[in-house]
Symmetry: C2
Subunit: 146 residues, 2 copies
Amino acid sequence: MENDSTAKSLKLFIVLSRAFKAINEHVNKVIQANGLNPTEFAVLELLYHKGDQPLQQIGAKILLASGSITYVVDKLEQKGLLKRIACPTDRRVIYASITDEGKNMIQDIFPEHANQIDKLMSSLNESEKDTAIDLLKKLGLPAGKF
Amino acid sequence: MENDSTAKSLKLFIVLSRAFKAINEHVNKVIQANGLNPTEFAVLELLYHKGDQPLQQIGAKILLASGSITYVVDKLEQKGLLKRIACPTDRRVIYASITDEGKNMIQDIFPEHANQIDKLMSSLNESEKDTAIDLLKKLGLPAGKF
DNA sequence: GAAAATTATCTCGATTTCAAAATTATTATA
DNA sequence: TATAATAATTTTGAAATCGAGATAATTTTC
């Protein structure tokens, strides 16, 4: 069987997966209760906090295949929450831009979303959260060689 | 805007999500390279390490809706990697049981899988892993009240 | 012991996602 | 400036997942 280091890494992977899935499940419920799916929320939230983005950038930032971007952006555009804007200097590029209606939606949802997450994290005190943040940052890196 | 505690919780949620997704992405590639999808692997691995399970237990343990369980178990049964076994004492219950072929499959994949995870976790030393495990365990709980 | 409530599985339809190919535009090269 | 290579988006078809309802079996309650 595997050695101690491997066993510990496996254990860490399991608790990491559990923690993420457990929290994510509840977070998604809040989002869905507001009429969006998690991917739609992620796109809107990105545009709201980071400004207009080329479709391709959206895919890169929230880990979505190109075909899926078109689908989600179509959905959000149909709902009037974002609009497509052609790039004036490169006709291959299309920006997604959040509408006022989209901004209102995020402003409605975000406080509840943040509050929910804070509650789900309340089993850790502030200093434990700091420690967890530092450790998890190291795990989220581009990934070493292998 | 939100207060300091909320901001820190949001930050923790972001690094948790990034870490999980980054690692999971690589783990899934190993699994898919071996002809299974992540859900199929999770089911097989559960049966391999924990023994036969009623279908419902599978759903509870790997967070899968009832309709999805039937689908995945069908797929694995078609591939000959598990079989359904009727429960002798309760005719509503059906056990999923891994076949010899399924065991071989897990024995082939698991060492590479474990090794891959160990490499992906190598940015933390052993004591940091222990700390991370303790903290993440607290986050993965059934979830408090809200 | 019959009726009601619960539990387990499956069916069906809709949604979401991906992968591969197609289209259109731009940039590099010869 | 053609031609080839690269890049961004869309289209298409298939796979995976979910949710609601259907079916069948068991347990609880009266």
